[in-house]
């Protein structure tokens, strides 16, 4: 295990995906797994498990930020988007220009001026949105940044099932180092230079995952799901383009790949929310019950705002928005979608 002595990789965030990433990295080196919560750290140290996953022997949990930054050159932040900026601010003083950060967070943040507020249903422009990569660049001195995205359901990865992912970065060296760190016979890593495309694809698919959960919860079949996936992809591409992304990433692993996985799997948190909504549960109750953040809920609001700002037709986003934020019933939303005048297939190409 020569590698294990040479490299120490860092993972920020001990959620289920963060833990899964740490375990993969541990096959190629030592891993420091950072958690903000001392009790979680203690538990991992004693139990050697986290979020139902056994920790690889090379994974060491920690709460010590300076030591973490001193020892790791390649760091994977995997924290929910809502707290991402705050975490980066905490790490900022210790991060140095030689660090490389590859985040695995599929979410967006609003970037507002002091005193500015955006209410649900208000238009949102690109300037008001921050991707996680942009947050890293704003809050830290690190320039070599990338993102990890793809159909990576944490539970399947933890079970050692084969999976593929994409590392997107404008720096080839980031892709190469990320690929080397994550290499595993069970984990295939692809590279892309289209960071924005990959980030937006990964984020927007969460919207469709909720919709897919709803269809499943209603007991609808594969025809309905296929309709959702294909039309949903079109809406993702349109929104992505309006936000400045290239459309090619939407047709790759991080786009269609991730979309199919999350729209088909009950393991996806976003899918579960939709499923339970369709079963008649209320959103606040479902969210209170989930022990991890459901990125898609916030993304629906942003996608709706972006569609308004850039005048894009996104009926699925609209129907979901009305369901989640305006108490429209699911049958009403479905009715809205089935009566919407789609006239051209594949109109996003």
């Amino acid at each position: 295990m020569q590698h294990a002595q040479e490299f120490t990789y860092g993972v920020i965030g001990a959620g289920s995906f963060g833990t899964a990433v740490a375990n993969i990295l541990a096959e190629n080196g030592h891993v420091l797994l950072f958690t903000r919560r001392p009790e979680a750290c203690r538990e991992m140290l004693t139990q050697r498990t986290n979020r139902g996953q056994q920790l690889h022997p090379h994974v060491t949990p920690t709460i010590d930020i300076p030591d973490f930054c001193n020892r790791c050159r390649l760091i994977f932040p995997v924290v929910p988007s809502a707290g991402f900026r705050e975490v980066m601010q905490q790490f900022s003083a210790c991060l140095q220009p030689h660090h490389i950060l590859i985040h695995g967070t599929k979410g967006l943040n609003l970037h507002l001026l002091p005193g500015e507020e955006i209410h649900p249903g208000q238009p949102v422009s690109r300037q008001q949105i921050c991707t996680m990569t942009e947050i890293i660049l704003q809050e830290t001195v690190v320039l070599r940044v990338g993102c990890l995205s793809g159909p990576n359901l944490a539970k399947e990865i933890a079970q050692g099932q084969p999976a593929a992912t994409v590392i997107a970065s404008r720096f080839t060296e980031v892709i190469e180092q990320g690929r080397e760190a994550l290499k595993s016979p069970r984990f295939k890593v692809y590279g892309s230079n289209d960071v924005t495309g990959v980030e937006f694809a990964g984020v927007l698919k969460n919207v469709m995952a909720i919709a897919s959960g709803i269809l499943s919860g209603l007991g609808l079949g594969e025809n309905a799901k296929a309709m959702l996936i294909s039309r949903g992809l079109g809406e993702m591409v349109k929104i992505g383009r309006a936000l400045g992304a290239d459309s090619s990433a939407f047709f790759g692993i991080a786009g269609i790949g991730d979309l199919i996985a999350t729209c088909s799997s009950s393991l996806s948190r976003n899918f579960s929310v939709g499923f339970r909504l369709a079963k008649g549960e209320l959103l606040p109750d479902i969210l209170a019950d989930m022990n991890e953040v459901v990125e898609g809920i916030n993304t629906v609001k942003l996608a709706k705002g972006v569609s308004l700002y850039y005048h894009i037709e996104t009926p699925i986003v609209e129907a979901l928005y009305q369901t989640l934020y305006n108490n429209q019933t699911i049958p009403q939303s479905l009715n809205y979608l089935m009566n919407y005048s789609f006239d051209k297939d594949a109109d996003f190409l």
Partner: protein, 572 residues
């Protein structure tokens, strides 16, 4: 607005390095022959690497260069072109053809002579590009500029014999001059001004001299050397030649290598990152990254050398490169009419056609200068905050500062797996980021003048009024009777935009000239007067009823563009 504090009796700063023989530009010139040898070998090595060391690719590039150079000589011959160049390329052609025939090598296949031709071509360019710095010419030119301008200034103002007006009264410099002077001693400065007029080089030359810095190496278009006198001065002041007609790999790479090597040797350099004069009058937002890339590469090499010398990880002693954004603002631009014409033709294509046969904008430089001085107009040269090649601000000691005010070691941006490494793709990406940082700095450093404000507001009011039915090109052809804006409306909107700009200036997002504060009517008059001094067709004028109108929409659009990008349109 902090104007320069005049230092000596001419109103200029003393030289930061008094002894000319200590100037890097002088030392470089003294060391010319070995420098050129090094330039040749470095360029050749770099080109070989770009061509993957492939003999076939090298042969193809030689053939391509020959083809392009022959077209250039045929279609675009300049007086400055050396008399032997036709002969040189004829020989290259003959060598390729002769070898192929003699040895029975099929045409297009590499030959034994390729390496020699490669060396000769690169050597030719390497000898052509560098200038020769002459201290005597420098001293002479410096006096001419200071004295000559002062005379012209006072003559135009009607007082030839008194030294009442100095150049510094018209060309105003803002920015942290003391810091720039400090940094000039601590590292290598790369000055990157915005470019709107051919006068810019002159203004920059004066400003560099005025703040006491040694001359900067500057890539001057070879066309400027067509004038013998101008060429004589340019060459001896350290300008190097950039021939934009030559687009072959050997030339471009030798040029880039030259600019990288002079930066590595500590010669302060100047180049216009926009590449050319801004055709539409707007601040540059898309930069040519080639020469910026030289700065990034030179910085990496300085660090690599630094770490080798100290045998460790400490690159803190390596020479640092400081990028200095500069925004030049004129109330009126010498070539405004032809620049905007060219821009509209290119961008509008069939949508843009010229109403009139003759364009009344071409004026002689002297007329321009005369009017400029007589009108007591001003040029504002604003130095932005110096930055490192990653866009971080720099403190007085030359340290890079992060967003939290801490010093950072930027050599570590080049570190991969513990050591500083060469990675061309990484350098390119850093260059792109630097370009973005420069564009952001241009926006913040821009000093808004009254003429920009009055043009922006007037054009936007007309666009708002007629924009629903007309596109830009339709708007530019708006009939004269539709161009009038009632004065009260105009003053109200102008004040609104001015106040927004003041708010932005308070937040450091832009700078305002001193005359931008105070009574709005006076400000509008100031803007209109300055805008109207030079152009025969006035971009903006009072009509007999005291309302506002435009005699030349293209020019109005040109001056308006200086304020685009600040999201001010929504205020109209």
């Amino acid at each position: 607005m902090a104007l320069i504090h005049q230092q000596n009796k001419q109103g200029l700063y003393n030289l930061v390095i008094p002894d000319i023989e200590q100037w890097p530009i002088y030392l470089l010139s003294k060391d010319r022959a070995p420098f050129i040898e090094e330039l040749i070998s470095n360029s050749m090595a770099h080109i070989r690497e770009l061509l993957d060391d492939s003999k076939q690719k090298l042969h193809d590039e030689i053939a391509r260069a020959l083809y392009m150079e022959r077209i250039r000589m045929k279609t675009e011959h300049w007086r400055v072109d050396p008399p032997d160049e036709r002969g040189f390329w004829r020989k290259v052609n003959e060598t390729i053809a002769h070898i192929s025939t003699q040895k029975g090598i099929p045409i297009g296949q590499p030959t034994d002579e390729d390496a020699r031709l490669f060396h000769e071509i690169v050597a030719r360019y390497a000898n052509e590009i560098p200038g020769i710095f002459s201290p005597n010419t420098y001293r002479f030119a410096s006096r001419v500029v200071t004295f000559g301008f002062a005379r012209l200034l006072n003559t135009a103002s009607g007082i030839f014999f008194k030294n009442e007006f100095r150049l510094g009264d018209r060309l105003k410099i803002t920015g942290n001059i003391e810091k720039i002077r400090e940094l000039a001693l601590k590292g290598t400065l790369i000055m990157t001004p915005t470019h709107s007029s051919n006068l810019d080089s002159l203004v920059m030359g004066w400003a560099i001299d005025a703040i006491g810095l040694p001359p900067f190496l500057y890539g001057a278009g070879l066309n400027l050397f067509n004038s013998r006198i101008f060429g004589f001065f340019m060459e001896r002041l350290g300008a190097y030649k950039v021939d934009r007609r030559k687009k072959n790999l050997f030339y471009l790479e030798t040029l880039k290598m030259y600019s990288r090597m002079v930066i590595e040797r500590g010669c302060h350099s100047l180049f216009f990152p926009g590449g050319t004069r801004s055709r539409n009058g707007a601040l540059e937002n898309q930069l040519k990254l080639g020469l910026l890339g030289s700065a990034v590469e030179a910085q990496r090499l300085n660090f690599m050398r630094g770490t080798t010398e100290t045998m460790g990880f400490d690159a803190s002693h390596a020479k640092k490169i400081f990028v200095l954004p500069v925004v030049l603002n004129y109330h009126f631009v010498l070539e405004a009419a032809s620049l905007i014409e060219e821009y509209l033709k290119r961008s509008g294509k069939e949508k843009y056609y010229i109403d009139r046969e003759e364009f009344p904008g071409t004026r002689l430089l002297t007329t321009f200068l005369w009017k400029f001085f007589a009108a007591k107009s001003e040029v504002i040269l604003s130095f932005g905050e110096p930055m490192d090649i990653f866009g971080h601000p720099i403190d007085e000691q030359g340290n890079s500062i992060d967003q939290h005010g801490n010093c950072i070691d930027i050599s570590r941006y080049f570190v991969s797996r513990g050591i500083i490494t060469k990675d061309r793709q990484r350098d390119e990406e850093y260059t792109r980021l630097l370009g973005n940082k420069l564009v952001e700095s241009f926006m913040r450093t821009n000093t808004v003048l009254s003429s920009h404000l009055v043009a922006f507001t007037a054009f936007e009011i007309l666009a708002r009024k007629h924009g629903r039915r007309l596109d830009l090109y339709g708007l530019l052809r708006l009939p004269e009777e539709d161009r009038t804006i009632p004065y009260t409306q105009y003053a109200k909107v102008t004040e609104h935009v001015r106040d927004a700009l003041r708010h932005m200036a308070d937040m450091g997002k832009v700078q305002l000239a001193n005359h931008m504060y105070g009574d709005i009517n006076r400000l509008i008059k100031h803007g209109l007067t300055n805008l109207g001094v030079y152009h025969t067709q006035q971009p903006l004028a009072y009509d007999p009823d005291g309302n506002i109108t435009s005699q030349d929409m293209n020019l109005l659009y040109f001056y308006h563009n200086r304020l685009t990008g600040y999201d001010l349109e929504q205020l109209i």
